[in-house]
Subunit: 703 residues, 2 copies
Amino acid sequence: MNKIKALIIILLVSVFGNAQEFKSPNGNFLMKFSLLSDGTPTYQLSYLNKEVVKSSKLGLELKNDKKSLLNDFKVVSATPSTFNETWNTVWGEESQIQNHYNELAVQLKQNETEREMIIRFRLFNDGLGFRYEFPQQKNLAYFVIKEERTEFAMTGDHTAFWIPGDYDTQEYDYTESKLSEIRGLFKKAVTGNASQKQFSNTGVQTSLMMKTADGIYINIHEAALINYSCMSLDLNDKTMVFQSHLTPDAKGDKGYMQAPCTSPWRTLVISNDARDILASRMTLNLNEPCKIEDTSWIKPIKYVGVWWEMITGKSSWSYTNDFPSIQLGITDYSKATPNGTHGATTKHVKELIDFAALHGFDAVLVEGWNEGWEDWFGQSKDYVFDFVTPYPDFDVKEIHAYAKSKGVKMMMHHETSGSARNYERHLDKAFQFMNENGYDTVKTGYVGNMLPRGEHHYSQWILNHYQYVIEKAVDYKIMINAHEAVRPTGICRTYPNMIGNESARGTEFQAFGGSKPNHTTVLPFTRLMGGPMDYTPGIFEMDISKLNPNNNSHVNTTLSNQLGLYVVMYSPLQMAADLPENYNRFLDAFQFIKDVPVEWTESKYLEAEPGYYITIARKDKNSNNWFVGNNNGVNPRTSTISLDFLDKGKKYEATIYADAKDADYKTNPQAYKITKQKVTNKSKLKMTSASAGGYAISIVEVE
Amino acid sequence: MNKIKALIIILLVSVFGNAQEFKSPNGNFLMKFSLLSDGTPTYQLSYLNKEVVKSSKLGLELKNDKKSLLNDFKVVSATPSTFNETWNTVWGEESQIQNHYNELAVQLKQNETEREMIIRFRLFNDGLGFRYEFPQQKNLAYFVIKEERTEFAMTGDHTAFWIPGDYDTQEYDYTESKLSEIRGLFKKAVTGNASQKQFSNTGVQTSLMMKTADGIYINIHEAALINYSCMSLDLNDKTMVFQSHLTPDAKGDKGYMQAPCTSPWRTLVISNDARDILASRMTLNLNEPCKIEDTSWIKPIKYVGVWWEMITGKSSWSYTNDFPSIQLGITDYSKATPNGTHGATTKHVKELIDFAALHGFDAVLVEGWNEGWEDWFGQSKDYVFDFVTPYPDFDVKEIHAYAKSKGVKMMMHHETSGSARNYERHLDKAFQFMNENGYDTVKTGYVGNMLPRGEHHYSQWILNHYQYVIEKAVDYKIMINAHEAVRPTGICRTYPNMIGNESARGTEFQAFGGSKPNHTTVLPFTRLMGGPMDYTPGIFEMDISKLNPNNNSHVNTTLSNQLGLYVVMYSPLQMAADLPENYNRFLDAFQFIKDVPVEWTESKYLEAEPGYYITIARKDKNSNNWFVGNNNGVNPRTSTISLDFLDKGKKYEATIYADAKDADYKTNPQAYKITKQKVTNKSKLKMTSASAGGYAISIVEVE
């Protein structure tokens, strides 16, 4: 960590009565804090002298409390400060990140109750973060949040890229619409999921990406969501004011708090250039520095797995069809008839290990290896898995020895079926089992309704479970890749063993009927604002019926688009998700997946428009090579990109994997062409992407 | 274990169409099973040719299921059998227990759904047990119980000793009334508690003790309550039919079931002699045999403790008054000002160890030894204790070494404040800490509302937690004494490390304003039907203001009554709960507490009438000595007891601790007299007990 430079600059802040204002370090943002006549705190935000957030109320409604924390406040002090440091990432889109902000800490006291609350605002060059802080005090020790009443008052009927507000899932396609159109489109936007619960037909999730009529991009999200409920936004579509809406617990309560404590940060990343949204590191900067002393065991991973074949229905997680239901430790699998479709067999896993070794992958994920998959879903089953007992046809020791001999790691899979208590009860033994058998990464899953029953995937109680797993994993030097958990909020800065998350509509939905063709041009502006996604790209066979005749799904991208994903969708954990047999048919294209790194030292956002296109260039952490990825929306697009990010004077060879002229994501998705050319930092490349197409370029230094 | 003798006796059962009947081994009970015309199963029970349970419906209402398990059944088979074995107890009221019953297993099939359900009836010589069984089958794998609809149709307006049905506590005084009077008395019967929730003003708890107008005693309870919700009874006070009422979870559901599975046993212990109710072992017999292979580490315990001084308010659990709230691991106790009233100091605990050693007690319990007691209650606090971090003034190592040098064990205390998840997260480390520091018994506590929030003390989810703790403790060879957990149902047969339970109104209430004077003449007929209670008797100073001037409570018994409790209220775990200074004032009476064993080989129920009197004689497991205890209700009483249980021809000396003539539980409770006399098995003793008085007799073999 670099040395922290903190300096109080009194003059940054103008104080007049109960109102204060301050600016971002670059002066682009101006934020005004003021109290309404009834003592309600408010903030208002301008960007380049234009109002972007109108006067918005702040506060919390409490349960069973004579007085909420909404009004009757006076300002005790307003303390400005500034902060500027550069810190090193363990992994990320770059090796160093600057954390530079001006801060205003407004200390409030409620007249009647004498309760104290601090609202801490931080203006970065790319936006605003603020949070509520509750110092230790006599009159506010324990309190229950009925609702957080933070407003984000928009200045107009912006265009939004939204998914339905939901207590249990973010696995939705994004809808692009005006804010005023959300209500009418809401029902259509709610597609089925294993566990879901909406709260309002103008409720949307964060991170929410918007664009104003005059071309300003606004992103609302949260950072450092720890020991609090996940925030959605409830829109008043007459006033265009969003209000925070927290996820309730089984009793309907929104948060159990004990001072001293804080809320998560509420974030607004704002720019007139969409690329700045992608380049923002505000979410990470608002999280605590790394709490893991030795991070040497945390390593980005490129992997293959026994997974897509189950997702498509070609093979099964389960081992047998003999039993109407399973009781772990009682059901005798040794006498069961194998169903003949079980994916996780020793023989098949060895084939994957061979494939991984041949092509230089770090690891092999195997799902469906452990007892219990016959009735794991939808039964609200408490003791659903024990995480240590393999099926009879999965020989852990033999597989471990074989993988080790090939220099390949095995990746563990812990599906919990939402049974959080059961997972916690088995966690130590499950992690010990991983340590003993050479697994250092686990993909966790929370499919279906949560247990304890009545809790939601995004309630405080369950979020504390996810956090417990992350912290417990540190003790065992285990990396976590949590699926169906809450969407990330930059906690990976503090716990970089949180190597991945799903928490959005991933590639699996391409085998569940398909996702919108522009889906991955939205995700980096929304889901990825909080941290990387285990999107599992790399599908080469778009016609799923070729894998499973009973599945008519179509993957709604071209093959080149799939290659571009490895750069566009940043993750330290990247899967080559398709089957080896499909890669073997296109080994020249597969070469890009083999070449593309998962560790970067620098990232350049070349082109970006949410829902339409994204082009990013990233520099390998371990060489001077660069990699460019593009994902395109529905409209075919040609543009010229400049390679001016390359080192001056150096020579490179670019290998370009692009859509062929006749490529079409529906009818001809596998039409790609690969070309090579010499390039320098003066080169410009004219690139064309098909509808739902894209491209990938590897740029390798020569001589 | 003795050899199991099972024999099918076809002729025991008369089958006529859809109706069957069978008898108890002694012929006293006759049970009839039949189907109503709509296929509803019913049972009817007679005792000595008198109907005691009228035709009562059986079945379960399911949630979200097209058809419940209530009717439309046909009888597939009705299989009679008989069973007779004698098994050895690890601890108990006797060293051997006979388990003798006739059984009728009625296999039912639902016509429409083809679902199968077995109702298994067992008639013992002292009553009936029955349960629902759900075999593994295709059409019934998972199901959710909306309500169990088991009826207990009474034949009249019986007298009952009842406490309000409640999802969270049994810590109520018993009310004696007609069934028809419950509704009118209900409100008065509900006294305050840290966590409580009633469901109906004719709802009562089990075990429920009743007496019919013609002198038949009926006790309804349950046995082997595992992975199910606790049952209360909801009375229809027009028809005098009780229906089972299960404790709901946070969502209102009553039970999540997976076939193959069973309900707990529903029990009816019935006799025209109240002593037979106390002598019944049906609850234990309906539980599974011991599952712990090596039980050598399980030992009954007589103990003293740092506890009554906190209950009375003389000293405190907490260490400091410095902090408005505590965050474990963050709050720095080392700099805190001690409050001067903390009970669990090294110095004070050593005094207790000295006292225990001097008087031959096995162990010393210490509460309030660990960080967190400043804000442990009523805050719905998740991370409330860590169970391993002592206060600065409690030196675990020093205390352990000192206790060891004196031959005394320390007893651990784990108050969870109802935060069950937190306890499970810390359980392994807490038990390791106990192993490392020489603790082999833990008193657990669940004061206040449960976490996860919305769950109840008696819901299936939380019951599974208690069971998890019991089974986990076996791994560490730890004995559990659970307070505020669900009332026991004989599980101590299967897990005899479940050495104690509170789960009723214990002695502590004598310092919270007092209990009814006849309380302990009811408890053996109700709460103790399921297993022993850590009642913590032995209070010698009845005027609590002498311990704490601010506490005007009065202990509503005489001193002799307190001595009698050690025999009347069977427990393998007996506390001498009062302060050493109070025992030192009455060392001659204290001698009985020192002498009375906690391990028995035989028990004789000499006199019994619920609410009025109980006299029991028990034989020491390790000598030929006998001990007699009496507890009396409100009316002073004289009776003659025969010592014919003594060995013929042997000579004994009896030491009699009895109420003095002028004893009065209110005004002169400490008036006792101690006399000695020679006795044989021909002796008869005329004994008098004061109102809320009692006596204790030790009978020691001489020569």
